[in-house]
């Protein structure tokens, strides 16, 4: 069997052709070469042209946004959400008219998120460790830990919040029913987030090679010391971005506490909005949250990149 020639039929160019009229044909044009490597697009902006291009595009985008907000059609939006005077009232509060300070409320959000995060970090580690135990004796605990993480991650936080916030006071058990809503709120946040963070920890613990554990045990380190000095530091380092992400979420979800009437930032903004028929308070609360969460997410990204570089650099043998 003969294969068809893979050589494209070429225009016969007899050897030693003399250029007619002494005109140098110059370098072959793209069409003359068998494979084209020329871009069919226009060349990208490079160097100073690139800087100029990015400046122009930035100005266009910002200008567009400003024009949108400043346009007469957006007047009611400006007045309802971006009213500087109203924003100030909401931020500072006005006790004489029952307007709570969003700023003061936000202090509660921060405080609550920090306290909850600390408890979550400890509890979640316990849950994750339980899930990773082996042996028949601990089976019921393992099952319990799995049931808990499935449940707590499967139900919306706001539902648990309503459930506990309104259910617990109606139980009629003194120790449980007479707690302040802040306590209920803290309990719910810890309950929900411990499940998420436990799963993050578990992924981290599983990411540490077993050879590391064997090396540690071979040196005579106890299982406890191995966990705390060898496994956990590596596990946490491997999942630090995920832990920070969950912390950012927890920080934001303190807003759900508003459903229980706790005077935190969002609830205070709601009150201000109700009294003034103006929603600039919500803008204030949003800005406050962003002031915390944006640096946090930037930081998370940085860690993630550093971590990725470290991994990609690899080890040499």
């Amino acid at each position: 069997m003969t294969w068809p020639s893979r050589r494209a039929p070429q225009a016969a160019a007899p050897v030693g052709t003399v250029t007619v009229g002494g005109i140098d044909p110059g370098p072959p044009s793209d069409e003359d070469l068998p494979i084209s490597l020329y871009s069919s697009h226009r060349p990208r902006f490079r160097g100073r042209a690139g800087t100029a291009a990015s400046t122009v595009s930035t100005l266009v985008v910002i200008g567009g946004l400003v024009a949108l907000i400043a346009s007469p059609a957006a007047g009611s939006f400006r007045n309802g959400f971006l009213n500087i005077h109203q924003m100030w009232i909401a931020l500072a509060g006005d006790p004489s008219r029952g307007i709570l300070s969003v700023g003061k409320g936000f202090v509660l959000n921060i405080w609550l998120s920090l306290l909850c995060e600390v408890i979550v970090l400890v509890l979640a580690l316990g849950v994750a460790s339980l899930r990773l135990t082996r042996g028949p004796v601990l089976l019921p605990f393992r099952a319990l830990a799995i049931a808990y993480t499935d449940f707590a991650r499967g139900v919306p936080v706001i539902l648990v919040m309503l459930w506990v916030g309104f259910g617990a006071p109606s139980l009629g058990i003194k120790e449980i029913s007479t707690q302040s809503p802040v306590v209920y709120a803290g309990f719910v946040l810890v309950f929900s987030y411990s499940a998420y963070v436990a799963e993050v920890y578990r992924a981290g613990l599983l990411s540490v090679p077993r050879a590391q554990i064997q090396a540690a045990r071979s040196l005579g380190l106890s299982s406890r010391t191995t966990l705390y000095r060898v496994v956990l530091p590596q596990a946490v380092r491997n999942v630090l971005p995920a832990l920070l992400n969950d912390f950012t979420s927890l920080q934001k979800d303190t807003a759900i506490v508003s459903t229980l009437g706790v005077a935190e930032a969002v609830h205070s903004a709601q009150i201000a909005g109700g009294v003034e028929f103006n929603y600039s308070g919500f803008t204030v609360a949003s800005i406050l949250f962003l002031l915390i969460t944006i640096p946090l997410t930037r930081y998370t990204d940085r860690i993630m990149n550093k971590d990725r570089n470290r991994r990609l650099a690899g080890t040499t043998a």
Partner: protein
């Protein structure tokens, strides 16, 4: 290779256990610390007479796969025993049974006179006195070289930081890596990492060192620096059980070479005999394969 002759090993290169330091004295857990010089020496002499390791009829299976089918092996203090055998013959498994990373199914392994199956034997104590170095180094990547070396002395023996670091620096100095003390392991070459791993084991002053193909993961040009260190340890009298594919090294450094095949030690003896005039056909076949591969 620099260690081709071993004129009279320094017999007390492995220092006698210091009764003041917690957890030393492997053969005498619970024994009151010897107070007089004489009783101290007597305890050490006892220890030297005992076999460091005695394996009899060791069987080990992983599920249906029986890896060890009656291994017999005895090692005295200062012995250097090389385990050779093809990949999958159970060398690693045997080593791992000796420091209880694996439990055997039948037979006995005695370490420093203690039956490892005895339920009073504490596996952490076994490992404290038995160093193990792995093919893949397994340095702790989150700790600097110095902290890799001091971790166990500090956390297991309770040595204070200053003393542990001084000792670690001394050891690193000896392998020429003092300047890397504050680097993380991934900044070191494989050969350097493996030497740090060996030093990390040495920092616990083990009475027995288990080396599991410590050069198999290294680029060829890095093998020598690690083998030189192991040879030096042998020269100083360290008791070592070494699984290796480096036949030239085994020939130079071993007192006894054991050929492992089919779950048993088929043949063992001094390196000159095993490599020069093996009696078992299986050993001959194995060595022929090694020669054909150009590795002897």
């Amino acid at each position: 290779m620099t260690v081709d002759e071993r004129p009279g090993r320094v017999s007390n290169a492995t220092p006698a256990p210091d009764p003041a330091s917690p957890g030393s004295g492997p053969a005498s857990p619970g024994r009151a610390p010897a107070t007089s010089e004489r009783s101290n020496r007597r305890a050490k002499d006892d220890l030297d007479r005992l076999p460091v390791l005695r394996a009899t009829g060791v069987h080990k299976s992983f599920g249906p796969l029986e890896v060890l089918k009656g291994v017999e092996l005895t090692m005295a203090t200062h012995d250097v025993v090389c385990l050779i055998g093809s990949s999958g013959s159970g060398k690693s498994t045997l080593l791992r049974c000796c420091n209880l990373l694996e439990r055997i199914d039948a037979g006995t392994i005695e370490l420093f006179g203690h039956d490892l199956a005895d339920e009073r034997v504490n596996e952490d104590l076994v490992r404290r006195h038995t160093g193990m170095v792995f093919q893949s180094f397994n340095l702790f990547p989150h700790l600097r070289v110095l902290d890799n070396v001091t971790l166990a002395p500090r956390r297991v023996l309770g040595v204070d930081r200053g003393a542990a670091e001084a000792r670690a620096k001394e050891l690193l100095e000896r392998i020429g890596l003092a300047d890397k003390a504050h680097e993380y392991p991934d900044r070191l070459s494989g050969g350097q990492q493996q030497r740090v791993a060996i030093v990390r084991s040495l920092a616990m002053e083990p009475r027995l060192l288990l080396l599991d193909e410590v050069t198999s993961a290294l680029d060829p040009e890095l093998v020598a620096e690690v083998l030189d260190l192991v040879g030096e340890l042998a020269h100083q009298g360290m008791t070592m059980l070494i699984a290796t594919h480096e036949m030239g090294f085994a020939r130079e450094v071993a007192d006894t070479v054991c050929f492992l095949e089919g779950g048993r030690i088929v043949e063992s003896g001094p390196p000159e005999r095993i490599f020069g005039d093996p009696t078992e056909p299986a050993t001959r076949r194995f060595l022929q394969r090694i020669i054909d591969a150009g590795r002897l």
